[in-house]
Symmetry: none
Subunit: 330 residues, 2 copies
DNA sequence: AAATAAGGTCACCAGGTCAG
DNA sequence: CTGACCTGGTGACCTTATTT
């Protein structure tokens, strides 16, 4: 997909620990997470701007940046990604480009939404409220702070992660995620991805969020079946449409009426199992979520397209999403 | 890989601060960089020719040479080198050998390509335009000049670095080496490296040059898939092939249909990332980086270029193979 | 089966050491 | 000062696990 590392800007190798990152930042985060003590304080008052060239110069700031962009051990996920995720990435990219035109680089927090409905990823927990976030302030300059933050993060984040959307809106919760609040960080994407709500999609179409409220996969599936017309839509179609639109760039992007209210968004994890679970900590977690699998439903058909579409995607730039329908499975 | 120190000519210990150098020159540069005041002016009007035996005789000239060959604190890179880099080194070596037979060293400008396409490395920034380079003139003889240049270098070099191939052919330069003339610097290599176009690779296979025109990785991937035969190729395999050929020196390397047009060639950068990936932006510039969080900025940096490219490679799937190992150290 | 991320491995480098 | 040697990382590549 040609994403860039959200931490240092070099081409991303993939989505790691909750954010698109390069191999280096991925490894760095993985190592640092388990060894915060190795990180010395920033000599620059915690204000280093991380880029490709200087990323190794200040570990404290590099780690801070990782957390800022939403990286989290608990937010990780394995496996193939649905086309929705890819679509989202494309759309986001488009928006950024457009915005870029308007302004400079986007600074940290982007206002609310870029894409119709941003979803956050659990990992984001940390991220979402960059500064508001409880952990955030920890992530300042001292080593101690980094440690604290790093440590807690794990625990907390994990549990809540998945589950309830609303899990906590309150920030009080620990540090974890508040991700939800922030609409999106520019490059952040949820480990798993939900289709945007409302927007372009026909009502009811997009799969619901994972664990939350929704009906469940089966329902989705059924619904689709019942409505033949809808069936035709699938991610692939949507994706293609997006691509198409890119080719023939249209003027504006529409900002569709954001259907989904931010609120709900909590969006959640979609990941199937969180790392926390897998590993060590057995279970700890709660997680009701367990279940959440992403829509299991659609699985099948959809996937295939990945590759192709991806490639296409790359080449084309997107302009605006086409209004298509979506039915597909998710 | 048996490279020689670009500063003094003795066998290089590795790629340090942007150039292949011996331990001594590496340490010298590292020390001097942080202590320019310790360097006294050249007694020989700044014209000392540095070699293994006299390298310690004139610090000013040794440092100058370091800068001339592209050394820079910002040009350093960590980690393992991509196999493409190794491949490039091998090919370069082969060519040199071949040419050696024909003539002497290659003089400066070799037309466009020796290897399919030489790339420069960013570090070279300094180098590329030896005299044209802003810093270059600083590097003359006085201590003061050295200091200035050393300091600024960082900033400037980055940007220009990459660029144009043809940079300058002129040689007026001083005594120094003429390295610049040489199309490829014998030993210089970009920190990262892009695979040569054309050459041995199946069409379409090798990643294209950075920013230029190319299609994108995905394409590559797809292509491979579609063409089973091609799939087999991967860096490792390629590398093996190169090595093999060396053993049994084959006449020429075949020059397969150069896919890439010279145009782009500018070869360059190689630095790490290719532009293409980054954004397409042909120009470097860009900065896509999105996220700049924090601070906004100030500092900045953009320097881009450094290193990268290796990433594309990755995307390709490796089959693995392996016969030889390329892993050995370079 | 394919995609794709976490982790592991270890080639490689900036820095620090210290005998010369 | 110099530069061979060591140390602590870094990150490219590979393996394993998970999800689609
Ligand atoms: Zn990075
Ligand atoms: Zn810092
Ligand atoms: Zn040397
Ligand atoms: Zn001199």
């Amino acid at each position: 997909m040609n994403q860039t590392c959200k931490v240092c800007g070099e081409p991303a190798a993939g989505f790691h620990f909750g954010a698109f990152t390069c191999e280096g930042c991925k490894s760095f985060f993985g190592r640092s997470y388990n060894n915060l003590s190795s990180i010395s304080e920033c000599k620059n008052n915690g204000e280093c701007v991380i880029n490709k060239k200087n990323r190794t110069a200040c570990k404290a700031c590099r780690l801070r940046k990782c957390l800022m962009v939403g990286m989290s051990k608990s937010g990780s996920r394995y496996g193939r990604r649905s086309n929705w995720f890819k679509i989202h990435c494309l759309l986001q990219e488009q928006q950024q480009q457009q915005q870029a035109g308007g302004g400079g680089i986007q600074t940290g927090l982007k206002p609310p939404q870029k894409t119709p409905s941003p979803h956050q990823h659990l990992g984001l927990g940390l991220l979402n409220q960059p500064f508001g976030h409880p952990l955030m302030h920890h992530i300042t300059k001292t080593k101690e702070e980094l440690m604290l933050l790093g440590l807690d993060e794990y625990k907390n984040s994990a549990s809540p992660s998945v589950s309830s959307p609303e899990s906590h809106n309150s920030d009080s919760s620990v540090e974890i995620s508040d991700a939800r609040r922030i609409p999106l960080f520019p490059g952040l994407l949820p480990p798993t991805f939900l289709p945007p709500h409302g927007l372009l999609f026909p009502p009811g179409y997009p799969p619901l969020y994972p664990g939350l409220l929704q009906p469940t996969n089966n329902n989705n599936r059924l619904m689709r079946n019942h409505n033949p017309g809808v069936e035709a839509f699938n991610k692939r179609v949507f994706l293609d449409a997006v691509l198409q639109s890119q080719r023939s760039p249209t003027p504006e992007v529409e900002a569709p009426p954001p259907v989904a209210s931010p609120l709900q968004e909590d969006p959640i994890d979609l990941s199937m199992k969180t790392m926390s679970e897998r590993g060590s900590s057995p279970a700890h977690s709660d997680r009701s979520d367990s279940v959440v699998t992403e829509q299991g439903a659609g699985s099948e058909a959809d996937e295939e397209s990945d590759c192709e579409s991806e490639k296409e995607l790359k080449r084309i730039k997107l302009v605006r999403p086409a209004p298509l329908d979506l039915t597909t499975k998710v």
